[in-house]
């Protein structure tokens, strides 16, 4: 069991999500940076499918009731076991009853914490991920929660040190046009690829909203709802693009001008971060 002394405002349980149910209206969900969570799991000897915590911006404070090995990946942050400082990207031993403090990130937004045995809340449709859009999975973590831990997975692979990736000041995203770039003026795609955008403060696990040159439509009217993918750049009526992240809806009624190859950088992009888009050919 892990007691949550201070949850922070947006800490959730995440794993690799629940793909395979989009045709029933069930979002994929899962960690915004699945590779970072998988790395944390590897550092403590968990399988990559184990659930951990996704911690956003303000850190959190936890107290395990049994001795555990934990690992934090993603944004660099101050980590302490009792008074002893620890490192991001490295397994840490936390004695039973000791307090694990994860501070706010020095740069970036989100960290992933794995605990040996994994967070063992009840799975829903094969996943323990909190889906903030549909409400499937456990509710977001709150102060006073007691999170169950699974059985000890055995000794981890002999990897005890990893590099904490730097968070760039400017995020460069590769964009492939379509499927509905023909709903926009020829100028729109040009604007998206040639002018910088900034991350809006109104962003969450559903999508990263961007602010910048509006993308004008060539086709008026409503697009009949159609399936959307992770990384889809949807353009609502105000012309400001939104990049879909893990909790995106399964279908959308606004045209998608292009799709971003890799959205994991957006998981660390604070409001105000500059984002530029580039075609895949460069």
């Amino acid at each position: 069991m892990i007691e949550v002394l201070r949850a922070g405002p947006a800490t959730t349980v995440q794993d690799l999500g629940r793909p395979g149910y989009a045709h029933l209206g069930v979002p994929r969900s899962g960690a915004l940076d699945p590779a970072a969570l998988a790395l944390a799991n590897r550092l403590v000897g968990n399988p990559p499918t184990a659930a951990g915590l996704e911690i956003t911006l303000t850190g959190c404070t936890l107290r395990p009731t049994r001795a555990v090995t934990v690992a934090l990946t993603g944004a660099d942050a101050d980590v302490r076991v009792g008074r002893r400082p620890g490192d991001v990207g490295r397994p840490l031993s936390v004695p039973a009853g000791a307090v694990l403090r994860i501070g706010p990130p020095r740069a970036g937004l989100r960290s992933w914490l794995a605990v040996d045995g994994g967070i063992a809340v009840e799975p829903v449709l094969g996943s323990r991920a909190t889906d903030t859009l549909s409400g499937l999975g456990p509710p977001p973590v709150r102060d006073g929660d007691r999170l169950p831990i699974g059985p000890w997975p055995g000794h981890p692979a002999p990897v005890d040190w990893t590099v904490v990736p730097a968070v760039p000041d400017q995020l460069r995203l590769t964009l492939r046009p379509g499927p509905r770039d023909d709903w926009f003026t020829a100028d729109a795609l040009d604007r998206l690829l040639r002018t910088p955008y900034t991350i809006s403060p109104v962003g969450d696990r559903v999508g990263a909203r961007l602010l910048g040159a509006p993308l004008p439509r060539a086709v008026a009217g409503e697009l009949p709802s159609e399936g959307v993918v992770l990384g889809a750049v949807q353009v609502p009526a105000d012309g400001q693009p939104l990049v879909f992240l893990a909790d995106h809806p399964t279908t959308g009624g606004y045209p998608v001008i292009g799709v971003v190859d890799d959205v994991t950088g957006l998981a660390q992009a604070r409001p105000g971060t500059t984002v530029t888009f580039h075609g895949p050919q460069r």
């Binding site: 793909p19 395979g20 149910y21 989009a22 045709h23 029933l24 209206g25 069930v26 829903v124 449709l125 549909s134 409400g135 499937l136 492939r176 379509g178 499927p179 009949p224 709802s225 159609e226 399936g227 959307v228 993918v229 990384g231 889809a232 809806p249 399964t250 279908t251 998608v256 799709v259 971003v260 190859d261």
Partner: protein
Amino acid sequence: MRIRPVGRHALLLDCDNPGQVEAWRAELWRRRDDGELTAAEIVPAAATVLLDGVPDPATTAARIAGWTPGPTATTAAVRHVEVPVAYDGEDLPAVARHWGVDVPEVVRRLADTTFRVAFCGFAPGFAYLTGLPERWAVPRLPSPRPRVPAGSVALAGPYAGIYPTASPGGWLLVGRTGLTLFDVHADPPATLTPGTRVRLATA
């Protein structure tokens, strides 16, 4: 039908009509079951079918272009669900005005229609039901209700739908059902899956 690329791992089949969507949905699900097609998700919608989690979309697109969707599934393979509906929705008079008939006639028409689940979206287990003639399409409310109770049976555009859980909603309410529409312990978790035939029978 036109195939549009979607990012690195997906394809969108842009269909000419809803019948073609259903035919491709059934064909692609069958081919995936038979091991001829790899796709993590095959998601029908109003006028499209999305394939996501496709390892090699260009090759897959070329193969799909060579396929012809067969006749839609035989009667025996189609799921049928009868939904018991209490027709007491507060927007029945509004629907009656749109259709130019009285309320009992609205109820009779809805109860007599065999619907088909065209696709799911909006929320887990929310099915868009087709079967009403296009000329009976109704507009949404100008501003959505903040809370529509679970089990509400409602109309919007050419579709009928049932809210699986309480949520905000702008559809016109015609009735309610006690049937569970989404159960995470059931397989499949949604009662109304794409292709299912549905009757909204008077309870």
